[in-house]
Symmetry: C2
Amino acid sequence: MTEYNPKQIEIISITEKLFAEKGFDGTSIREIAKAADINVAMVSYYFGSKEKLLDAIILYRLSSFRLMLENLQAENITAKEKVSKFVAIYIKRIYENRDIYQILHYEIVNQNRTSNFPAFSEIKKNNLKLLEEIIQEGQKEGVFKQNCKSVLIPPIAIGAFFQIYNNKKFYQELIGLQDEISFENYILNEFTNDISNVILGMLIQ
Amino acid sequence: MTEYNPKQIEIISITEKLFAEKGFDGTSIREIAKAADINVAMVSYYFGSKEKLLDAIILYRLSSFRLMLENLQAENITAKEKVSKFVAIYIKRIYENRDIYQILHYEIVNQNRTSNFPAFSEIKKNNLKLLEEIIQEGQKEGVFKQNCKSVLIPPIAIGAFFQIYNNKKFYQELIGLQDEISFENYILNEFTNDISNVILGMLIQ
DNA sequence: AAAAAAATTAAACAAACGTTTAATTTAAAC
DNA sequence: GTTTAAATTAAACGTTTGTTTAATTTTTTT
């Protein structure tokens, strides 16, 4: 795997934000160069092309995605608590990596690019597998229903989060969250708790 | 309000699909012209510019969005049944208008365009108002909790739908839905029912 | 049938795009 | 301190972009 030097990582980070905000097609190399305070030729020099820069962003961010949830299974808590923890860790990770999620989401919808996202599918599958193990545990404990819709859990969590995040102004006004910090607090506490309860309500008999 | 002739409506419909698939920036006027079998100059001739064509698409689709849910409140059924019906109508409408939802979603995230979406916010607010009336009804009936998170209902429904729709291939494989028809059936029946239950689980004491 | 209006066309426009070049500066190696 | 490699630059490349022009065809009106 390719290692990136500090200059490359800086370009990756700045471009990640721009792509998430304005989209791949909506962001020009000249904009990137200006934001990162580099010459336009540097993108090609370091990454080969704009599209390969996108690949680099995805590769760079996704590489740190593995593990994190692995330890959860081993913990000595009830299945119900594990689901709550899963949701909390999941939403936190999405929130913290919202830029790359936004980019990936759009690039998956938008078939213009030929980037391959099998790595992303793999992560999703692993998450689901872990989740199903936890649910089976809860079924054995007799607290979860037998026909649980585990597949719906990630889309509910991710989907609801991005619906609110992408309509931030609308919901900030609605819920009454003035600044960025109170919004972040809402997401990581109240929202996380609510979604956790919604999902548990679906699982518990 | 401007009326559109059949030729304009054809351009609107074809462009709507292209914008939803490839994004505003990812779709060129020449692509639109080719798909709609018209000369490139016709877009400017009929709509003024590419950006005004986007406005026309939004205006044209959103104008048919009002009502639909209005009658629900008057029906002689329980609040619980009303919520189920609300969710079903809501998901159906999103599914049938998924292209314009996709465009709006992206354009709201993407601040490149100066299109104003107060009409869309208005629709969302009206939906929420109706929903809260139904919930209050259910609270009076004594079936719904006192502190209900009604704000979360639309984002859960829309969010979960688009998470699945935008990762269609992934979920088709996962759930086992070979063709387009069985996917549509899944969304309008099983998925709608599951989401309805999830939301009711959140409301019922 | 003649005149007026609307629709359609091919061609051209300048601007912006991603990318490459070749020259220059900076840093590392010896 | 000289040589070699890496980083950075301004300029130019050929395309593609959205839009406009001016000429032509089609349709409508009288």
